[in-house]
Symmetry: C3
Subunit: 271 residues, 3 copies
């Protein structure tokens, strides 16, 4: 589900779960593990690029599959997502997001925790549209969004669940650069290569300081599985209050009704 492509000292982790790189618990765990492996090979790997498929970076959570899971399964899924977000935030290696296409909800979330974001120009949308599927935006995600775009845009974008073009995303700071679709990975690799060539300790120490607030967002969350260890979901007590609250929202009547209606619309559209 993750393709590895080496570009000199830069390793590209390409999401490869067709058709839409929807985030299943397994894909999230695989990505967290791939990050950990790259860190363990820091002698050879100096920076990372996180990319998707042409036209689609990631469609976000795999809602049709997730609607088949019970509370323990959904708890394990959110633990995986929190572990992945924290692994990106705290990564000792820089990670540049190559947003190769659409990037709604969970797709945008992954990009928030990277070092830089390059997005494909064209008819692609990005944003935190969780509210539109009936889910309140989890606190760590809202806080990471605020960090990138400031409180005003974060409030408006998250409350209305807006999806915006790459150009608008660049205007508000949700992405850093917009380039033609066939240049996205190349440009992200160039940024990562430049970071890999800087004086190593000075860069790492400055980066640690500049991102300390991003890592600290997870302080209050509780044990979500260090290093991708996601637990068995059988015991709610170690999932963190924030995750339990997110779970309550997931199983609310509004969220369940809205997500089921969405899945039915998608199914009718396809068939």
């Amino acid at each position: 589900m993750i393709e590895i492509i080496e570009h000199g000292a830069v390793r590209e982790l390409r999401l490869a779960r067709p058709p839409a790189n929807a985030l299943s618990p397994d894909l999230m765990a695989a990505l967290t593990a791939a990050l950990a492996r790259a860190v363990a090979e820091a002698a050879r790997v100096a920076a990372l690029v996180l990319s998707g498929a042409p036209g689609i970076f990631s469609a976000g959570l795999d809602v049709p599959y997730l609607l088949t899971l019970d509370r323990a399964g959904i708890r394990a899924m959110w633990r995986n997502l929190y572990a992945l977000m924290r692994a990106l935030a705290a990564s000792p290696l820089p990670v540049v997001a190559a947003i190769t296409g659409h990037s709604p909800a969970g797709g945008a979330v992954l990009a928030l925790f990277c070092d830089a974001r390059v997005m494909a120009d064209g008819d692609f949308r990005i944003g935190l549209n969780e509210v539109r599927v009936g889910l309140p935006l989890p606190p760590v995600i809202l806080a990471a969004m605020r960090r990138l775009v400031g409180p005003r845009h974060a409030e408006r974008m998250s409350v209305t669940g807006a999806l915006v073009s790459a150009a608008e995303a660049a205007r508000i700071g949700l992405v850093d650069e917009v380039v033609p679709p066939d240049r996205v990975v190349e440009r992200a690799v160039a940024i990562a290569t430049e970071m890999a060539g800087l004086p190593r300790t000075a860069m790492a120490e400055t980066r640690r300081l500049a991102r300390a607030d991003l890592v600290a967002l997870f302080d209050g969350v509780g044990a979500v599985g260090e290093g991708g260890d996601v637990g068995d979901g059988a015991d709610g007590s170690d999932g963190g209050d924030e995750i339990e609250s997110v779970l309550d929202s997931w199983f609310s009547v509004e969220a369940q009704t809205t997500m089921r209606a969405l899945v039915e619309r998608l199914a009718r559209k396809r068939g």
Copy 2:
């Protein structure tokens, strides 16, 4: 002093105190009460628009009238303004500001605490020009300004008391959209209508989280009258230290001299 216009699930509260919608203690209390009534009718009202008159949203505090009041009267006035700001910040219903024209000082202040700001294009100015009339900017207002435009613009705009055009206000983030004057209310109603149509709980919960820092600005202020109850101003002890400090500034020689000179200039201009 407040006209009520219903637009489906959106209620417009139109400031109607000619000629300039100057904020008298009564107008502020009336607006706070109108907000409370809308919240009480949440079954019928899902979002609000706060609008002014063509060419003038609000001229800010009614300085000529206020100069006739003693310390108790001015204390009651500031309590009303703090109660109104807090009611806007903490409103369970979204409030979109339709800035129909000039919006100096108190006019801009009301907009800071709304969910979104649409301003009329044309020769209209907005800003926090308190310093130019001799008043230090109260802490909660500076903090709300920082939240919208960031520390750099908030410092420069508030220290210099600058009034800027709608275009400049949009550039720095003080307003969100600029439209022709005859489209301002229509556009604000459209934004409010869109918010009213979102999944209710998810929107409300995300909005509560995104605005929690705005509401928290009032934690240190003390009792300023819950729900528009403004007290009698006879006892300084329950007005909050911040309001007492604002009162001291109001009655400083510099503020009194500057405000009286301003009022005389305005009177000569008119007569």
Copy 3:
């Protein structure tokens, strides 16, 4: 090393240490002392402009000279820089930076702590390129940068040690205005003059409030020499933990190697 030019109520402090206004310990102490003298003459001086030479505002720390100093000497230097940054942050008089040309590293640092920044248009660069010479960015400098440009740009600019054009600096908020080179001082004086003409107490009080977070950055730093008193550097215990940590980085193998290579490159370039 500091030329004083009076423009009515505005005093210009012009860095005058050819060829590049490199920040030596003496220049920093002289500037801190000049700020203190202006404050002592507040009856005649209402605002300040900090300017450089045509084409070069300041090249930043005088690395060739500093490489000849031992730990006590470098400690004294950093104490001087911290004392200068704090004096600018806490200055009771507004200070407008007239960035007359290149402004890398320490040059940009001085500008961060001023009230406003006017930069010369043309082929001039500004930024915090400390990482590129092997130095992690000190925490107070990163925090002051975040305050101006927000966490996203501050992270990217400081981690990559980027130097950018005046136009790009204006786009991200690192400077406020870009004007032709021969207008920089004039424009900075105009801004300072406008601030000097505002109601004094209201302006000063609003300014104190708007800049309180900038001053508070130095709370954790320890005694760095009040009013430019820089101590003898013989006793590390009163230099503050942050400065001792900066010292450790200065004498790291990576920093020393990178700075010596840089100085050799510059020497070869000059002939």
